[in-house]
């Protein structure tokens, strides 16, 4: 096998990532067409897509930017609820479902991106793990604020209250969209697997292109050595913010997709546990490894359903599997073995040392 240039290699690697998604989509379609797709798996297709987008977007923050976000579910929540409001607000004016879905995804992404900016500006100017602390608080604040929000649409537009449903004063013609702790009820199910896959592909295009662009190299330079990056004239805050806002916006789009797959969505869903779940996807898939995030998000979303046969021990089995994956993927001997297999196939001893992590 002849040696490939770095550029070519990158191209092949990216192509494989896109191909995995497309092949999975085609496979599912074939299974569905031939009637072999179980309802259980069919019901999980959209959430899987949403979680993949979440994992890839968090990987941009954790792996590429090297900052920790512990409130990524907060951005998902913002996207989810703004997406729901937009999709229901446009119900009378836009009849085409896909158009409303598109509008919901875009607005969800913009709102989440905006909040990413607000959160990021103070936190990313600092050194250290402040972003982790700030996003952790942000996620909890968003959850509690949305829990008290009442939103309705009347003939004269959007009405918002923070006390109760009656104070919206909608009368009979209006519809209530968000009912505080009851969340959004009566959501139209606009999300589809096709739309989910398109969102995943767009996410991949954005993230992979960013990572391999000039900006991406600057972001990684900031991650690897802040002082050196600053000394060559890279604006630290700007590049950190760029990466973080994109990450937040993608999480918002994922949230909108997720919310529009169920007839109801509550703020409590997007709590600390969900943030950690997405972080688990990223870490088990490999920090900085986009393809790993995709696979980990898909597998770990389906896994609890496959484990239903374990009954009471389901969640225990899930946790044990997570720990085993963590141990084996970080095992030096296994790494060596993998490395040997790879070098056996490549017949190349000139490769530099094995990649860390």
């Amino acid at each position: 096998m002849k040696m490939t240039k770095p550029g070519q290699k990158r191209l092949i690697s990216n192509a494989i990532t896109y191909a995995i998604v497309i092949v999975a989509y085609v496979l599912i379609q074939i299974l569905d067409g031939s009637g072999n797709l179980t309802s259980s798996l069919r019901g999980q297709l959209v959430p899987i897509c949403a979680y993949i987008v979440m994992a890839v977007s968090l990987n941009l923050t954790v792996g590429v930017l090297g900052e920790l976000s512990l409130g990524h579910a907060g951005f998902m929540s913002l996207g989810a609820f703004s997406g729901v409001i937009v999709s229901l607000g446009l119900r009378d004016t836009v009849s085409a479902g896909p158009l409303r879905l598109l509008a919901a995804l875009l607005v969800g992404a913009v709102i989440a991106g905006l909040f990413g900016f607000i959160v990021g500006v103070p936190a990313l100017r600092l050194r250290g793990d402040y972003l982790a602390i700030v996003t952790l608080a942000f996620g909890e604040i968003i959850k509690n604020v949305i829990n008290t929000l009442y939103v309705g649409i009347g003939p004269d537009g959007l009405r918002i209250s923070m006390s109760d449903q009656a104070s919206l004063g909608l009368g009979e013609s209006g519809t209530v969209i968000m009912r505080g702790p009851m969340g959004a009820v009566g959501v139209d199910k606009l999300a589809s697997f096709g739309a989910g896959v398109i969102l995943v592909l767009i996410t991949l295009a954005i993230v992979l292109n960013l990572v391999h662009s000039r900006s991406g190299r600057a972001i990684m330079a900031v991650r690897d050595n802040r002082i050196a990056a600053e000394s060559v004239g890279i604006s630290i805050t700007r590049y950190k913010l760029t990466a973080f806002i994109i990450s937040a916006a993608l999480a918002g789009a994922a949230g909108a997709l997720y919310a529009l797959n169920y007839s109801t969505v509550v703020a409590r869903k997007f709590d600390f546990n969900t943030s950690i779940l997405v972080l688990v996807f990223v870490v088990l898939g490999g920090i900085g490894n986009i393809r790993g995030s995709i696979i980990a998000a898909a597998v770990l979303t389906v896994l609890p359903e496959l484990l239903r046969a374990f009954n009471d021990y389901r969640m225990l089995a899930y946790a044990v599997i997570l720990i085993l994956v963590m141990l084996t993927s970080n095992n030096d001997r296994l790494k060596q073995l993998r490395w040997r297999i790879r070098s056996y196939f490549q017949h190349s001893s000139r490769r530099q040392e094995a990649e860390h992590e």
Binding site: G43, A166, M182, V185, Y262, I276, D312
Partner: protein, 397 residues
């Protein structure tokens, strides 16, 4: 720098794993996914509810109660039922997953879900798929709204609020009322909103309204002080029993002794671990079921339940039990057989449930009937805790 960050990260992840694993630390006496195996001709009933996580006590109770009813029905020798109960962790996404996996199993009738938010998501699916749904305890009106094939065994939240206000006013239980409710909880907020509007019409004097959320449910001194300063002699608690137990404990520590009035979420307080049940003396609650009732049906059920699970059944267990009997009676009436598909059964059962002459006598009420909206009609029972057991409250004392 990098190593400390990795260390922090791994610490957080370890915590995360602990949280995830912790979800399984719920009651282990549950019967997740177990099927009561029966010969081929059984009608497949699916159940969905939280068997793990914070709301596990409700799901497990419903599952246990339903299982007892299934065994009894099957022993009668007529129609045969098979029950499969799946866990939803009180989460809409997991609940829809559970629903789909039950569909793969071949579910013909759905007995679920136990909690409200998952219920709204699942009934949207079961409405689309035309699978008859009877929820034991998902009490929000959003669960049944606009879905002709979804019926409730429990009161709706608004009805509980209205009934509580009426009960307090008619029996003159208190002159100055304080309310403490969970404004991050759909159930609690739903009851509160109707209570407050009904209270205004009944000339009930509400002197203080304070709130908490799940995250702040470990200190109620502020709320209790507000109630005390307002001179409240009755505190209305439209909340679940865990925070209520803390309120009782802290009020006792303050030396504040108002009357307490709860709704069906208060049920379970007497079986709570590490709670001094003496503090619950005199607490009143509206609940459709009391384990110490002396009618033959309740006595038999409680005995069976205690023998099987070694604990007193709560209202949720009774709801689950009644659900199976309601389905059984309706199936008998409509002539449903196990070889029909779910959609055909659905149409027949809707007709049976809404028929004028269809009524069920169960543990949670006599002569229960259903409106076409899916709402149940039955009388609430006022209970008061005396000597550690529920005693029926006399009206007009």
């Amino acid at each position: 720098m990098r190593t400390t960050r990795l260390r922090i990260l791994s610490l957080i992840l370890a915590l995360g794993l602990f949280v995830l694993a912790g979800c399984s630390a719920g009651p282990t006496s549950t019967t997740a996914g177990t099927t009561t195996a029966k010969p081929a001709a059984a009608i497949k009933i699916g159940g969905i509810g939280p068997l793990t996580g914070g709301a596990a006590v409700y799901g497990s109770s419903v599952a246990n109660g339903a299982k007892i009813a299934i065994e009894e029905v099957n022993a009668l020798g007529g129609l045969q039922f098979e029950l499969k109960f799946e866990d939803d962790e009180h989460d809409a996404e997991k609940s829809v997953n559970a629903y789909n996996s039950l569909k793969d199993w071949g579910m013909q009738i759905l007995c679920g879900t136990v909690t409200t938010t998952p219920g709204i998501a699942v009934t949207a699916e079961s409405f689309k798929d035309r699978i008859f749904t009877l929820t034991p305890s998902a009490s929000s009106t959003s669960v049944i709204e606009g879905k002709d094939n979804v019926f409730q065994m429990c009161f709706t939240d608004p009805n509980q609020g209205i009934a509580s206000a009426q009960y307090i006013a008619e029996n003159k239980l208190g002159s100055k009322i304080a309310i403490i409710y969970n404004n991050a909880d759909a159930y609690s907020t739903g009851i509160y909103e109707k209570f407050i509007s009904e209270a205004a019409g009944k000339n009930l004097d509400v002197v203080s309204t304070t709130t908490f959320t799940d995250d702040t449910a470990n200190d109620f001194n502020v709320q209790l002080t507000a109630a005390k300063n307002g001179g409240a002699d009755l505190i209305f608690l439209p909340i679940y029993y865990q925070p209520a137990s803390l309120i009782l404990t802290q009020a006792d520590a303050m030396g504040y002794e108002p009357k307490f009035f709860g709704v069906d979420g208060m049920d379970g307080i007497l079986t709570m671990e590490n709670f001094n049940t003496e503090l619950a003396e005199g607490v009143m609650l509206l609940t459709p079921f009391a384990a110490d009732a002396t009618d033959a049906r309740t006595v038999a059920f409680v005995a069976k339940y205690q023998a099987a699970y070694n604990e007193l059944p709560n209202q949720f267990a009774a709801d689950g039990y009644d659900c199976i009997y309601a389905i059984y009676e309706a199936c008998k009436k409509a002539g449903v057989t196990s070889d029909m598909d779910a959609a055909a059964i659905c149409d027949k059962l809707i007709e049976a449930f809404t028929a004028a002459d269809f009524s069920i006598d169960g543990l949670t009420g006599e002569n229960m009937t259903w409106a076409a909206t899916g709402e149940v009609a039955k009388a609430p029972k006022g209970m008061v805790i005396e000597d550690g057991v529920y005693v029926g409250m006399q009206s007009g004392n």
